[in-house]
């Protein structure tokens, strides 16, 4: 697949850098890190030094400039050539944790919370989902009550990517009344009394990315950690979701690209009934269908990313792109496993892992059903 039309030489050059990094630093360890259930922390300063961590963030906050299209280009190279989806999503948790701080934070907050993450010294996470429910964000229950110069936070968060090691957690809390008008964003730092990390959750896929439960019990956080205005957090969360969903759609395209490549390789190598698998029309057509669906999801994702970088509001289109991409990756990974036969069910084959990784996408970042709810609302059905 040639690079997307709107990508420039800059994207091509950036892709080269990310590819070289992935081959050197990720690929040799991919299987081991996935099996170990976590990637080593020292990957982060390496990502920062290579200029990869800061892609998509303004230079003024310690980033490297560029926009969402650069973020997706880099992430695709890391997935396709690093072959560890867990490592890429785990080391990319700042992609959802930092934008609300960058958009709404004060210079002091940016210095304290954003720069060290951009430098690979600290880990950040976004905590919205609660054990009692993730889809209905407007009903979240974690409370933050103002007490002098502090907020006192009580509540639980779950399924938090990079949660076990996060130094900086952007937390959605209820500071006001019921519904979306009572939600704020506040940063809680590791070591704050009353903030504890529960167990590392055992998952179906995304193994190299740690996922945790977070607990806040009478946790006193300086009021200076509040991001933006009190009770104005819901909008920040919604804006963040649009970019997150496009990043997730980009992940799906990348995973499918890798699964498709692995399937082609295997189909050419493996013989049955005296010829290679790719010698059977049925197998070739499977590959052709995979490639076609991948191309379609890629095109839609890129179109929406392009609109987003041009400043359009893309909540509905981003939801469409996510659903198209998650359906696509589900099918492509399933077929990639099928082409691998029994080996596709074995842990040492990358497609087995991709199949498990792919299952997250119709759930995380807003479920497939919630995407359709958003589309219905925006399209006025």
């Amino acid at each position: 697949m040639p690079n997307p039309l709107y990508e420039s030489e800059i994207h091509a050059r950036l892709r080269e850098q990310a590819r070289r990094f992935a081959k050197k630093e990720i690929a040799p360890n991919a299987h081991a890190w996935e099996e170990a259930g976590i990637f080593p922390r020292d990957l982060l300063p390496k990502l920062a030094a290579a200029g990869i961590m800061g892609v998509g963030y303004p230079e003024a906050v310690g980033g490297g400039g560029g926009d969402l299209s650069h973020v997706l280009a880099v992430a695709e190279e890391l997935v396709v050539h690093g072959e560890s989806v867990g490592t890429v999503v785990g080391s990319g948790s700042h992609g959802i944790a930092l934008p609300p701080i960058i958009r709404g934070g004060t210079p002091a907050q940016i210095d304290r919370f954003v720069r060290p993450v951009m430098a690979g010294q600290k880990i950040s996470a976004l905590a919205i989902t609660e054990p009692s429910g993730g889809s209905d964000v407007a009903s979240l229950q974690t409370r933050a009550v103002r007490d002098g110069d502090h907020y006192v936070i009580d509540g639980d968060k779950t399924f938090i990517t990079s949660g076990t090691r996060a130094d900086v957690v952007t937390v959605a809390v209820r500071t006001g009344g019921e519904g979306h008008g009572g939600i704020s964003m506040i940063v809680v730092e590791k070591g704050t009394p009353g903030f504890t990390v529960g167990k590392k959750l055992e998952k179906m896929g995304w193994w190299a990315s740690d996922t945790a439960e977070l607990r806040f019990e009478n946790c006193r956080v300086p009021a200076a950690n509040l991001i933006g205005e009190e009770n104005a957090g819901f909008l920040a969360i919604m804006m963040n979701f649009a970019t997150e969903r496009l990043m997730l759609a980009g992940n799906c395209v990348a995973i499918a690209e890798l699964a498709h490549r692995k399937a082609i390789e295997y189909a050419k190598e493996r013989a049955a009934f005296g010829k290679s698998l790719s010698g059977f029309q049925v197998v070739r057509h499977k590959l052709a269908d995979m490639a076609s669906k991948l191309a379609a999801a890629r095109a839609l994702t890129n179109e929406v990313v392009q609109r987003h970088t041009q400043g359009e509001q893309v909540a509905s289109l981003a939801a469409m792109a996510k659903n198209v991409a998650t359906d696509m990756v589900t099918e492509v990974c399933d077929q990639a496993v099928q082409i691998h036969g029994g080996y596709g069910y074995m842990r040492e084959y990358v497609v087995e892992r991709l199949y498990r990784d792919a299952r997250l996408y119709p759930i995380g970042g807003g479920t497939r059903e919630i995407m359709n709810e958003i589309i219905s609302k925006f399209e006025g059905y």
């Binding site: 800059i10 850098q17 800061g54």
Partner: protein
Amino acid sequence: MKILVPFKRVADPENANKVKVPVGANGLGPKIETTGMEFKPNPFDEYAVEAALRLTENGTAPKARLGEVTVVTVGGPEADQTLRGALATGADKAVRVEATDEQLDGAIIARALAKVVAQVGPDLVLLGKQTVDTDSAQTGPMLAELLGWPQVTFAVQITNEGNGSLLVTRNGDGGVQKVRVKLPAVVTVEDRVSYSGGVTSPPTPATHKYADGVRFAPLPAIMQAKKKPLEVKKLADLGVDTALSVKYLGFEPPPARKAGVKVKTVAELVDKLKNEAKAI
């Protein structure tokens, strides 16, 4: 220090299986088909750029340039992207000598480079020890001969002694050799020169540890590279003798590998090595 690094765009050796040679008369193809192939910088040239950058900076504050690195290529406009890549990595200037592959052989390239050396005036020419497409390893030595400069090939470690000389460790046939060379000089490098301890050069403190390998270009550097000077010169304008001394008569792919055999006993293996492969 001023350094010139010849920098070549080559077909990605990882895609060598995509190389196609159309069959022509008497079984020889007229050319190598390059459509569909991916191109990248010659890796040895990238190591040379990395070494050149280390020789012209303080590794603890690499943004401040303390010398000048110019990359030069002889080729068509498609090579501009390759040069921009080197500029993004950190080279300061680029020169492209306009030419098509059919107009070139190793000797013409060396002559063109000698002219560029005269114009740029470097203290050192650092080259990859060879390119991964033709693997001839001639350009460095031919250039040194034309310039009348001392040369060291296959460098694995370079120390800038600071008094107009370099101490170069090179890979020789029988082991490593340490050579002191007076500048200006021509040095060709192996990959190890880009390893952590590949280059020692004040003012970079001896305690500074470089990461192994060629540095990565962050996005701001990639963007800035578009603004760095890239000068295009015509081969003819350089006053280079363009008579080819090597003519390509035809191409054929190397014979396909034969299938291996399984041996049952060590004795059989030894017998085959001795009598069939004549390896022992």
